[in-house]
């Protein structure tokens, strides 16, 4: 009885007419009588679909909804609306993992807050979000016979690129990558590992000076090689900008050196040098366009010299170029980097993973403080290894005592520590922060893995980097002969006037561009 009643209710006039004579007759009947109220089904549209999470009664809350805003002017990240399925993953990673979206007040001012990290690219299931494609700029430079196109490859690209060609996760393709770049027409191939070592020299010296009080800057010192992290500080923690190391990132160190040091050595016109970098990172595209990153031009006092790094390509873009050029990646020989800035140590190599910068810095800091080589134990600093969000350790360096350090990856983790520091909880001397969980090896520019972002892939890639370090002849940045050479021939000593000019930088507060949420407002929200 109950059931029957229900059925009768569901049989509307329209469905009855449909039963009686089909839609056409129903329409005609209603039309002829001239009193037909249109039924919702007769309206145009509504033929498509929506993800299931949205097909619920209006009064029910939807947990995951919408998508992250991406400004059309974003220098690093673009989205193809045609592929977007509104799954909400991008907004989740931005909010829950990186603590960017949802951590600013509305209304916005004139800025869509974005740290360009590109984690949304990895989470996007339909490939709608990608890096901003800059391949054409590089192809144009390559086709210019007068241009010397110099390329650098980041520590993490060599263990990622192979995946694009069907190799197992974490395969080290350093040699093939160099060979491919040469086949593509790049004139000089340098290793960002070299400037990673240089960064350690500069940043390590700075850290030692901060600890000894030689340099009147606050502790803890934050690493500054992750552009996403730097922008995050500029946005949300402008009061902590003095804690950021003034040392540039390895990419931005190699940029001006190519147009000064290398040009000088090879007697090249700096205006005719086009500097490209292959990065596992989308934020690097933003970093190279920062207005202050024109130090070569300033140093040479020649406004015609272009920005320090002209174009950044992601690992994925390089893979695309190789495929487009029909280069059989598998059959390429292993080749070597060009000399002068092509030699990196094991310490430089592990920059590509979370904890790597810290480990490299500790090795050299030990040397810088004591003048002696670090002990074996510092060559495998296990407390800072692994995928945990916040890792802490204490390192004892004779002469400097116990130094407390922290390693963070993922900005939601960084935010907790930063809020702590603001509240006076800052026992550390040095903190390494990588915006992307797991560090650069899973950066926004790395190959999209076959599985959703997972620690399994992160650990495999990281293991490959540690293997490079373990097998390296030189494992300390200060032992790199090319580093010794550049200081002898060009820079004199770490943090010299010339080094400050070319290898160090300043930061700007972005707090004016939006209203950051206060911790008390977002803590109870999560």
């Amino acid at each position: 009885m109950e059931q029957k009643k229900k059925k009768g209710k569901n049989l509307s006039r329209r469905s009855f007419l449909k039963l009686a004579g089909g839609t056409g007759l129903a329409g005609a009947t209603l039309g002829l009588t001239g009193c037909g109220q249109m039924e919702p089904e007769e309206a145009i549209g509504g033929e498509g679909w929506m993800p299931a999470q949205y097909n619920i009664p209006a009064s029910w809350p939807t947990q995951v909804r919408g998508r992250v805003p991406i400004d059309p002017d974003n220098p690093a990240i673009v989205r193809d609306d045609r592929k977007c399925v509104l799954c909400g993953q991008c907004i989740e990673v931005c909010k829950e993992v990186q603590s960017v979206y949802g951590f600013y007040e509305l209304p916005i001012k004139d800025e869509i807050v974005c740290i360009n990290c590109g984690q949304c690219i990895h989470w996007c299931p339909s490939g709608a979000i990608t890096e901003k494609n800059d391949i054409d700029k590089v192809l144009e430079a390559l086709s210019d016979p007068e241009m010397t196109v110099v390329v650098q490859t980041a520590p993490a690209t060599r263990i990622g690129l192979g995946e694009e060609f069907g190799m197992p996760v974490g395969t080290n393709v350093q040699g093939k990558q160099i060979a491919a770049l040469r086949r593509l027409g790049f004139d000089v191939v340098f290793d960002t590992n070299f400037t990673a070592d240089l960064t350690i020299m500069e940043e390590g010296t700075e850290l030692v000076q901060r600890i000894t009080g030689e340099l009147d800057h606050p502790l803890p010192q934050f690493t500054s090689c992750c552009p996403g992290w730097v922008k995050f500080v500029e946005y949300f923690y402008p009061d902590l900008i003095p804690n950021l190391s003034s040392a540039k990132s390895p990419q931005q160190m190699l940029g001006p050196l190519v147009k000064t040091y290398y040009a000088e050595k090879k007697n090249l016109d700096p205006k005719k040098i086009f500097s490209v970098s292959i990065m596992p990172c989308t934020a690097k595209k933003f970093e190279c366009q920062r207005p202050e990153m024109v130090d070569a031009s300033k140093f040479l006092n020649d406004p015609q010299v272009s920005q320090d790094v002209d174009v950044v390509l992601t690992t994925r873009e390089l893979a695309f170029m190789i495929k487009q050029a029909s280069i059989d990646f598998h059959s390429l020989p292993d080749e070597e980097y060009d000399q002068l800035m092509g030699l990196g140590t094991g310490a430089g190599a592990i920059f590509g993973t979370t904890g790597g910068v810290m480990e490299a810095a500790v090795r050299s800091a030990y040397y810088l403080v004591t003048g002696e080589q670090p002990p074996e134990a510092l060559w495998s600093l296990t407390p800072v290894r692994g995928m945990e969000g916040v890792k802490e350790a204490t390192v004892t360096i004779p002469g400097a005592g116990d130094i407390k350090i922290a390693v963070i990856s993922g900005l939601e983790n960084a935010r907790k520590v930063m809020d702590g520091i603001r509240d006076g909880h800052a026992p550390w001397a040095f903190i390494e922060v990588m915006a992307c969980p797991g560090g650069c090896q899973y950066g926004g520019g790395q190959p999209r893995s076959s599985t959703p972002p997972s620690d399994k892939v992160r650990n495999t890639r990281t293991a490959s980097l540690y293997k490079i370090d373990a097998n390296a002849k030189l494992r300390n940045s200060h032992d790199n002969p090319e580093i010794k050479q550049i200081y002898e021939d060009f820079l004199t000593v770490p943090m010299s006037e010339k080094a400050e000019e070319l290898l160090h930088t300043g930061y700007v507060s972005r707090a004016e561009e939006f209203d950051a949420k206060k911790p008390e407002d977002y803590l109870h929200e999560v």
Binding site: A28, G31, L32, G34, C35, G36
Partner: protein, 405 residues
């Protein structure tokens, strides 16, 4: 060109002249464009866009065509209802023009609307809140009625059996045939009344329907004078000057009423400043009033109105005035609003071709009908002679005709 259909032994004739050749060419070109329009859509054949959903076709073919053809109901009112018999000589041509005008309007509408094959939908779905519903009903019914009215003449030559019934029904047909256009002429104006704030205040007014009605009435006289002078050259049928003068006076009288209402309306709504701002809107508005209304009134009631040429000018100015008015309401009146974010519209050449082609078709049809049916009433001696010759050649036709009477 002579076509003889053996079946009913009726003789059709149609003379070919260079002017008619051009019109035939335009008509064919228009047909070609219509084919393209039906296959590829309005976007391929017009410059219409989302800011300008209405353009040349609707303004020229509908707003204007209806107004210009409006002479028919005016003359019918004067001649048949008010029995001013001296205007009888022009009654039939006026009504024929009107019929052809409406046929062209309906054809124009059919290609203008997007889903022409659904033209009948309003009859069944009954959207009676729409002013357009009223226009649609009146125009379609009036076109049918005009056909039947014309049937009174037509059945003298073909379908002769129906003649006596139509003759009997004529008074009813005439009265409905006057009432319907009165309604839709005013409704055409009322169409724009819902576009509150979109039409320039110089034209947007609660009196829009009255203005449209009155102007459609007075333009009728102007149109009859112009077309009579044209057909005078084409078929040698001459209408007396006094008839024209009488028409001009009636028309002029209505114009005075129109002008008084217009000024009153402007005073009430305070738009004098707009009228004399001498911007585009104001200049076109003043042109419309001065050349389309004031000067014709002066001609109608002065000695200028006694000459055939003066009356021709009356006709030309009146017709141009109403043409300008209808264009003004849509284009000038709406332009400021519709173009405010950079929209624009100028008719495509294909739109011009279709409009000209439709007019050509109407002219050709008019000439064909005039030469084959007893429209002009008092036939010239020459024509009468020809008829006698015809009877001699086809005695069977003549006897049949006599028997029918």
């Amino acid at each position: 060109m002579e076509i003889i259909t053996k079946k009913n032994r009726t003789r059709w004739q149609f003379k070919m002249t260079p002017a008619r050749g051009i019109m035939l060419f335009l008509a064919l070109a228009a047909l070609a464009v219509v084919v393209v329009r039906l296959i590829f859509g309005l976007g391929a054949t017009t410059n219409l866009n989302d800011q300008w959903p209405w353009g040349l076709w609707i303004s020229f073919d509908v707003l204007l065509g209806v107004a210009l053809a409006g002479g028919g109901y005016g003359v019918a009112l004067v001649v048949y209802v008010l029995r001013r018999d001296r205007f009888y000589p022009i009654a039939r041509t006026a009504m024929l023009t009107s019929l052809l005008g409406y046929v062209i309007v309906v054809l124009g509408l059919l290609i203008e609307v997007g889903q022409w094959f659904y033209f009948w939908k309003p009859f069944v779905s009954w959207g009676h809140a729409s002013v357009l519903f009223e226009v649609f009903w009146c125009i379609s019914m009036y076109t049918v009625i005009q056909f039947i009215e014309f049937g009174e003449i037509g059945t003298k030559k073909i379908f002769r059996g129906a003649h006596k019934y139509i003759k009997k029904a004529m008074p009813v047909l005439l009265i409905i045939g006057i009432a319907l256009p009165t309604l839709h002429q005013s409704s055409l104006g009322e169409l724009f009344y819902i576009m509150v704030g979109k039409v320039d205040p110089l034209w947007w007014s609660p009196l829009l329907p009255v203005f449209f009605l009155l102007s459609s009435f007075f333009v009728g006289a102007g149109m009859i004078i112009v077309e009579s002078r044209l057909s005078e050259r084409a078929v040698g049928h001459k209408v007396e000057t006094s008839v024209f003068r009488g028409l001009a006076k009636i028309s002029g009288g209505v114009m005075i009423l129109y002008l008084i209402l217009k000024i009153g309306d402007m005073a009430v709504r305070g738009t004098f400043a707009n009228a004399f701002a001498f911007d585009l809107q104001s200049v076109l508005f003043l042109c419309e009033i001065v050349f389309g209304c004031l000067i014709p009134i002066i001609i109608a009631f002065s000695s200028l109105g006694k000459t055939r040429n003066g009356l021709l000018w009356f006709g030309i100015l009146t017709v141009s005035g109403v043409v300008l008015n209808r264009f003004n309401v849509l284009f000038t009146g709406m332009g400021g609003y519709l173009n405010r974010f950079g929209g624009s519209y100028f008719p495509a050449w294909t739109e011009f071709i279709v409009s000209l082609g439709l007019v050509s078709m109407a002219c050709l049809a008019y000439l064909f009908v005039v030469e084959n049916f007893n429209v002009l009433g008092h036939k010239s001696d020459k024509a009468k002679k020809e008829e006698q010759v015809e009877i001699k050649i086809y005695p069977s036709t003549a006897t049949y005709e006599q028997a029918g009477k």
